[in-house]
Symmetry: C2
Subunit: 132 residues, 2 copies
């Protein structure tokens, strides 16, 4: 076979969830897409892959990201078990955001997304191939 990751059991072959006929939330692919769903989400995860961050550090790293969406994303990633909030006592309020072990395992996922998107210099096979 051409591609088989090392000690990695492939889930697709005989798992019943590989045969769903609708985008059900039980499908593992949907679970991951739900965790990464929405604009800015992958960028927040990327930022946290580099180390834990405070709320304002995240805002500084992603200046065009609004408060609403940032807190939405952090809540969403918290629900998904990807991000952990560490609220420290004292004043002013200090909160640190960090990836959980599960969240760190998103590294290979983002890498796979990166690799596929990077392996085609714009204009080789894509949309504007013959256009100019």
């Amino acid at each position: 076979m051409t591609h088989r990751t090392v000690g990695h059991q492939a889930g697709l072959p005989d798992d019943p969830r590989a045969h769903v006929t609708a985008p059900t939330p039980e499908c593992p692919v949907e679970i991951t897409l739900a965790a990464l769903h929405g604009r800015w989400t992958t960028l927040v995860v990327r930022e946290l892959l580099r180390g834990d961050r405070s709320y304002s550090e995240l805002r500084a790293a992603l200046p065009a990201l609004s408060d609403k969406v940032l807190s939405d994303r952090l809540a969403q990633l918290g629900e998904a078990g990807v991000v952990e909030r560490d609220r420290r006592p004292g004043w002013p309020p200090r909160v640190r955001y960090a990836l959980t072990p599960r969240g760190r395992r998103l590294g290979p996922v983002l890498q796979a997304l990166w690799d596929w998107g990077a392996d085609t210099p714009p204009g080789t096979t894509g949309p504007g191939a013959a256009v100019r």
Copy 2:
């Protein structure tokens, strides 16, 4: 190292696109997410990973998917260079849909999405962890 695909250069370390501060379409991750964007898209790709299909075979495999969305998805995947249309002459019209080589390379991407979503039995770390 724990995980490193064989002869695969990692793009993240020093590529300037790894430092974008907004969801720009030039980011490889965004390119991939754009190709897979929208409901049903991954299921259409999965179906085509199993072999080429006609329009009605796709409808039969995904009964709850409407005509509008199916043709939207096929057009979107065509634009992304993932799917190829093979229109055969004669009557009645016969059209076959198949993945391009680029489209077949989505296999590992879907596998990565699957693996992450599958490795947590619901209720271990996720949302309803303590709920029941």
